[in-house]
């Protein structure tokens, strides 16, 4: 079927601004992805999946310039002992990065993989993204697969002692970065991947994560405080038997952020938790779109998303749990909540359950509300000033999402950033 004319021309305009990198062993996947983009077109305002978030600035030929954000506080996780991999405006920077060798893991640059004819990543690059295109199309992810100019392939074979920190740095006000990472966690292996820093004026990032049986991956990401960025990110995760995936995202400010998490539980007894806390003020639009598919027995999934919105900020949550036929004993949980600190902000939520198995426990809840006046009075009656009491209750609201982070040091750092954000705005 031919695409609507508006979509066709928008897609062509965007594609004309891009060049496919010299692709080596990823060429077939890239060409396949390009064919998919041409077939579906890029997201438009009338697409159901983009009902609450305007994709225009994410698909326009050029990125809207964004001022380079200068932060008065150090980048998150700076104090941690970690392996740093730095991308400046979406380009790997060897000087600022650590030596990429560490026991239990091999890390290659996407560019190096592309020069090779054979590499393990070839079997993963674009594969999970392709799987994630059904039943809902994700053309920005396909675009990413086709045109990603940099990224890393992380092969976890053991238990590296340090977390791997992907650090992004925004240097040019017109940067438009497309990064694609692939992660393979081997059987019984375990790693932590951190992502921090403002990446670019416009950022399209796709991560494909394949976790083998009994593998574990922890992922903690901090987006912000660069307010002018526009970002669309996709994380495609496939879980094998008894494997574990735990992902948490903190988002602070951002004129437009769409984070998609596509999780597929394909092995029995697997566990996937995806969580997020975001705080936005004013011209802020944050969209969490999650799709969890249960396709095995006795798996557990949790989605915990909390948003604090003020001064006309907008939060979106589209979350789905799909339980396939035969995925018995599924334990699926989903909660999305917003705390609206004034009457101008809005939260748009679309929680969905689709269940084809008859022996499952699935629940979802979505709420939107103001600060609890009774609790506020209780705190004030004990002498806590209104501003501090409001901040305490706001942090308490976010706590359920932050609690999803297993590592207490990481969780504490997230909390201290949230405290800082609240203090600056009080």
């Amino acid at each position: 079927m031919a695409l609507p004319e508006v979509k066709q021309s928008a897609t062509e305009a965007r594609l004309s601004a891009l060049t496919m990198p010299d692709a080596g062993c990823t060429r077939a996947a890239r060409e396949d992805a390009l064919a998919r983009v041409l077939e579906t077109g890029l997201p438009g305002r009338r697409d159901e999946y983009w009902k609450y978030t305007q994709p225009d600035t994410l698909v326009s030929p050029d990125a809207i310039p964004a001022a380079v954000f200068s932060d008065d506080e150090p980048l998150m996780f700076s104090e941690l002992d970690r392996l740093s991999i730095v991308f400046v405006d979406g380009v790997f920077n060897a000087e600022e990065s650590d030596d990429l060798t560490m026991e239990g893991v091999t890390i290659d640059r996407l560019e190096d993989i592309c020069c090779k004819d054979i590499h393990w990543a070839k079997d993963l690059y674009g594969v999970l993204e392709t799987r994630g295109q059904s039943p809902v199309q994700r053309p920005l992810a396909a675009l990413n697969t086709a045109f990603a100019s940099d990224g890393v392939a992380i092969h976890v074979t053991g238990k590296p002692t340090k977390p791997i920190n992907l650090i992004y740095r925004h240097a040019s006000p017109t940067s438009d970065a497309i990064l694609h990472h692939v992660v393979r966690v081997e059987s019984g292996a375990e790693a932590t991947i951190l992502e921090t820093g403002p990446a670019a004026s416009r950022f399209n990032k796709c991560t494909e994560i394949d976790i083998a049986d009994k593998g574990t991956l922890h992922h903690v990401r901090a987006q912000g405080r660069d307010h002018e960025r526009r970002a669309a990110t996709h994380m495609f995760t496939r879980l094998g038997t008894e494997s574990v995936y735990k992902s948490f995202t903190l988002t602070v400010n951002g004129v437009l952020t769409r984070n998609e998490q596509i999780v597929e539980l394909t092995g029995d007894d697997a566990v996937a938790h995806v969580a997020g806390a975001c705080v936005g003020d004013g011209d802020f639009h944050h969209d969490d779109t999650v799709f969890v598919t249960h396709d095995a027995v006795n798996c557990e999934s949790r989605q915990v998303f909390k948003k604090v919105l003020r001064n006309g900020a907008t939060g979106v949550f589209q979350g789905k749990i799909l339980v396939k036929q035969g995925a018995q004993k599924t334990d699926g949980y989903q909660i999305s909540q917003s705390l609206l600190l004034d009457d101008d902000s809005q939260f748009l939520a679309k929680p969905e359950l689709e269940i084809y198995a008859d022996d499952v426990a699935c629940s979802h809840g979505s709420t939107s509300g103001a600060i609890d006046e009774t609790a506020l009075f209780y705190l004030r009656s004990r002498g806590v000033p209104t501003k501090d009491a409001t901040n305490m209750l706001t942090l308490a609201f976010l706590a359920e999402a932050v609690d999803e982070i297993e590592d207490s040091a990481l969780a504490e750092e997230i909390v201290s950033r949230l405290e800082g954000w609240l203090a600056r705005r009080s």
Binding site: R380, S381, A389, L393, L398, E400
Partner: protein, 251 residues
């Protein structure tokens, strides 16, 4: 210490008069009890004194050591020395009890221009006070009042009172939902705080709390006014005969 004169209060939302001219003076070092039938305005009085929203003071005054309470925000009243032990202590998920206590103590000290309590000093004090109220370490760590039993919630109120050392303690039906043992524990906590510099206003339905917290003065409140004032014997009279006789007498 606490001086209430001709206090008239109505609900903000509806044109309903709740307090119709309350006069009451609580001196430092004294325990005053207010008893009265349901709907007489006892809880409203406690909320108005602590500054809860939703009430309009249409006439009269309330002062604490000469300071106009009604002009102050709830947190200012707390710093000035007002403490309300809630009839239904509020559960606050996500806020640790200890964090809450420390924030409250230091906010009040700061408001009064005093030095904040160090973490170590605070911890020492809170542990000692919690112990006498049989509040264990786990309760201190848990979120404020979340999953606490009725008795634990009330003990937690008394712990807050002990830590904040207010000048004027208002206790709104602290005995409700308590078994005999819990009531004794709470009463002991209160009695330990009785002090020459501190006043108490104990609101209760029943005389039994007053067996444990011995009042100096007992007031009977009905239809938004204090209708009778007497000694501890007045509470016994209520216990034996109900309110009917007293109300008939004053009408």
């Amino acid at each position: 210490m606490l001086e209430i004169k001709n206090l008239h209060v109505q609900l903000e939302e509806e044109d309903k008069q709740i307090l119709k001219g309350v006069d009451l003076t609580v001196e430092a070092g004294k325990v005053h009890a207010i008893m009265g039938p349901n709907g007489s305005g006892k809880s409203t009085l406690s909320y108005v004194l602590s500054g809860r929203d939703g009430y309009d003071v249409t006439e009269g005054s309330a002062t604490l050591n000469g300071e106009d309470l009604l002009e102050m925000e709830p947190e200012e009243r707390a710093a000035a020395g007002i403490f309300l032990a809630f009839q239904y202590p509020v559960e606050i998920p996500g806020v640790g009890n200890m964090t809450f206590l420390r924030t409250a103590v230091n906010a009040q000290r700061k408001a009064r221009g005093e030095e904040e309590l160090s973490a170590a000093d605070f911890l020492k004090e809170v542990r000692a006070k919690a112990k006498t109220l049989k509040i264990d370490a786990d309760m201190l760590k848990r979120p404020v009042n979340v999953g606490f039993s009725g008795g634990e919630k009330k003990r937690n109120e008394i712990l807050q009172m002990a830590m904040l050392e207010p000048k004027m303690c208002i206790m709104d039906e602290t005995d409700s939902g308590l078994d005999v043992d819990a009531m004794k524990l709470v009463a002991e906590g209160v009695n330990a705080l009785r002090d020459e510099g501190r006043g108490f206003l104990v609101i209760t339905h029943y005389q039994r709390l007053l067996d444990h917290i011995k009042p100096d003065v007992v007031h009977i409140m009905a239809d938004g006014r204090i209708v009778k004032t007497g000694g501890p014997e007045l509470a016994l009279e209520v216990e034996n005969n109900g309110y009917a006789d007293i109300l008939a007498e004053v009408n």
